[in-house]
């Protein structure tokens, strides 16, 4: 039984002699997944200290193929298929960062970040503070997040609020191919640790990508200007929010849609300016309502813009339930109708 034990880590790499793709050099139409892939490739070309760690990221290219072909191009020293242990993925990234590397960890699905939670919260987030700046943690933790793909348990979580409550971390969520590309590069280049949330159910949506870094990642973006209601969101729901704004426009309500992009810190300059203008705020996210980012933003906006508010800000979120089975997820996830219902409420129409 010669193959009973595979002797060592992947030694023969399929496609290692394949032609090396050149990095993006002009505007190209890419899926979100491919845009991240190109961003990773560029970051690895730019800086030899960038290494990738994760489960199945090598020959398979990750279960979502986000790291496709990177093993072939950069080899097993930089694209590291790790044993199945999230705490160790993060914990060894800490050690690599200690030695001057810029590790990019892939967590296979949102629900699998929790075994690595301690290393993120107690180590990654605290090291810079702990050592008074002597030790930097330029670690990027990539997490496909959110529901709507009909998946089994633990594959549809929205754990971002655990990290936005953790001082020392930056948190990014991208919604489109261009940001996917630009912000993964910025995240990797950041000297601070970044949780980088990828809109799982929109991995296959295409968009034009210019090979540029774009606006700083901590800036929110007004996706669609409007005057009656500020609608704030991030990740996969940005597209739903845009659709809602279109639908509301038909009913005579002008919605300003903001894609937060950075969840920590939140770009309150943009948010406040919008709310001062519209006087009405709706926040939507998939995560459970209690303790979600929406509450934090509403509290902050209320503190800072109280006299501008025409009505109580409204949340349209996942319910306070564990993520439900696939056949029920449409009754948990905010959709066009629930967002419009929220808009109605903030407009005092219900």
């Amino acid at each position: 039984m010669t193959t009973l034990m595979t002797p060592s880590i992947v030694s023969t790499v399929p496609g290692l002699n394949a032609p090396q793709p050149s990095p993006l050099s002009e505007t190209t139409t890419l899926t979100v997944a491919k845009a991240i892939n190109e961003g990773l490739r560029q970051a690895m070309l730019d800086d030899p200290k960038v290494v990738l760690l994760g489960e199945d990221i090598g020959a398979l290219g990750g279960v979502f193929r986000v790291t496709s072909d990177l093993l072939a191009q950069f080899g097993a020293r930089r694209v590291i298929d790790t044993p199945l242990a999230e705490s160790a993925i993060i914990g060894t990234a800490v050690g690599l960062a200690y030695r001057g590397y810029r590790p990019v960890c892939e967590i296979q699905f949102d629900g699998f970040i929790f075994p690595g939670f301690d290393q993120i919260v107690s180590q990654v987030a605290k090291f810079h503070y702990r050592t008074q700046g002597a030790v930097r943690m330029p670690i990027t933790i990539r997490v496909p997040f959110g529901g709507g793909i009909g998946a089994a348990e633990h594959h549809s979580e929205s754990p971002e609020a655990y990290f936005t409550h953790t001082s020392g971390l930056r948190v990014i969520a991208v919604s489109n191919a261009q940001d996917a590309y630009s912000l993964i590069r910025q995240a990797i280049a950041s000297d601070d640790p970044v949780l980088y949330f990828e809109p799982k159910r929109r991995y296959h949506v295409k968009g034009e990508v210019v090979p540029e870094l774009g606006a700083p990642m901590e800036q929110a973006v007004i996706v669609r200007p409007g005057t009656d209601v500020t609608l704030l969101t991030y990740g996969a729901l940005v597209s739903t929010a845009r659709d809602a704004a279109l639908a509301a426009a038909d009913e005579g309500v002008s919605i300003e849609v903001i894609d937060l992009r950075s969840l920590s810190p939140v770009d309150y300059a943009v948010v406040e300016a919008s709310v001062r203008k519209t006087g009405r705020l709706v926040v939507t996210h998939e995560a459970a309502q209690s303790g979600g980012l929406g509450g934090e933003i509403i509290a902050t906006v209320t503190e800072r813009c109280f006299s501008y508010l025409e009505s109580a800000p409204v949340r349209v979120t996942g319910f306070d339930v564990p993520y439900p089975p696939a056949k029920l997820e449409s009754h948990h996830l905010p959709d066009l109708d629930r967002i419009l219902d929220g808009v109605d409420r903030v407009m005092g129409r219900r």
Partner: protein
């Protein structure tokens, strides 16, 4: 006396010869022709169920399916060693174990159809529902075993997990707790050589079975495609646990002949020659050979087995397709065992929201 650090234990050769081992034979002395045939029947049925479920997934009736193709002996052999009052803590791939425990076929696919997060009431069959966070269930099994120990009963917990799972902190902590408290728990590792795309060599530089003794837990490394060896090893481990001798670790060396799940494409990472080689070790073929030699296989037996398998497949299909969708408001059910005001308010609000839609004007369709 059992030697707990042998090389691979095999009691049934690839040619279907019964290999005699004085240390293991007493544990399977009851395995006469009919008993072996019963095991064979189980294995044929579970393979048929597996194929049917894969087909149902391809037809869009299931969201996902994790095939067990190739692991029938490991699962049937171990499950058939258990008593009713033992308790199984599986991963997501132990559908043959579920079948042996008496789980309804429809209940097996309930999760994979997306109708519920678990398919059955664990207490009706003494088997927990699938665990998806890799390795977490090994601690649950250990805790259950601590309970059995405190209850002073001789029921045993058995937990199933893969080669990949052995890298998770939880599995190692489970070994530590089990050893520290000498808990009556069996760690049943199906080393199917792959954790999605990662060969077992990524997880372990030595045989997985070598790990447990360092924790003070005896281990057995058995041919997981040999249902007789699996049954014997599991009985030995059960006996130790019932006698108060604590945990045992079993590495069943087998092979995942299919994809990781129906969502996986093993051609991206796996040499077809490896699969070809493992096909020669097919657990069903081997047992079939032995049964043929024993004269147990007749055309009638073949036909009856096939009929049994087909009936199971038909039952599975009908149950799957006929499963009613859950009620919308059940999304709020069972979050808590006790009333919760915040959640009740969300339920009430959402119920009101739903009724605000006319019958022709369904939510989720835009407006």
């Amino acid at each position: 006396m059992i030697d707990f650090s042998p090389p691979l234990v095999q009691l049934l050769s690839l040619d279907g010869e019964r290999i005699s081992r004085p240390d293991f034979d007493p544990w399977v002395s009851d395995l006469d022709g009919p008993a072996l045939l019963a095991l064979y029947r189980d294995m044929v049925v579970v393979r048929r169920i597996d194929t049917e479920a894969t087909a149902l997934q391809r037809q869009g009736e299931l969201g996902l399916w994790p095939p067990l193709l190739g692991q029938e002996a490991a699962q049937v052999g171990s499950a058939r060693a258990l008593r009713n009052d033992d308790f199984v803590f599986p991963s997501y791939r132990e559908n043959a174990v579920a079948y042996c425990r008496g789980v309804q076929l429809t209940d097996i696919v309930r999760v994979w159809r997306g109708n519920a997060q678990s398919g059955w009431d664990p207490y009706t069959v003494n088997m927990a529902t699938p665990a998806i966070i890799i390795g977490a269930q090994t601690l649950h099994a250990t805790g259950w075993a601590l309970g059995a120990q405190r209850d002073e009963v001789d029921s045993v917990a058995i937990t199933y997990f893969g080669d990949g799972a052995t890298s998770e902190g939880d599995v190692n902590e489970a070994l530590i707790f089990a050893a520290s408290f000498q808990a009556p728990v069996i760690f049943f590792c199906q080393n199917n050589h792959w954790a999605i795309s990662e060969p077992v060599g990524v997880q372990a530089h030595r045989n997985i079975a070598d790990r447990a003794p360092g924790f003070g837990i005896p281990s057995l490394r058995i041919d997981g495609n040999d249902v007789i060896a699996v049954l014997a090893a599991t009985r030995i481990a059960l006996d130790r646990a019932r006698a108060g001798d604590g945990p045992t670790f079993i590495e069943a060396v087998t092979y995942r002949m299919g994809p990781h799940t129906t969502a996986d494409d093993p051609t991206r990472y796996r040499d077809p020659a490896e699969l070809a080689e493992w096909k020669t070790r097919d657990p069903l073929v081997r047992l079939h050979r032995l049964l043929t030699k024993l004269g147990e296989i007749t055309p009638e037996v073949e036909a009856a087995t096939q009929a049994l398998a087909d009936a199971a497949a038909a039952e599975l299909r009908a149950g799957c397709i006929g499963m009613p969708d859950p009620e919308p408001l059940s999304v709020f059910d069972h979050v808590y065992a006790t009333p919760n005001a915040t959640l009740e308010r969300q339920r009430t609000d959402y119920a009101g929201y739903l009724t605000s839609f006319g019958s022709s004007d369904q939510p989720g369709e835009g407006r």
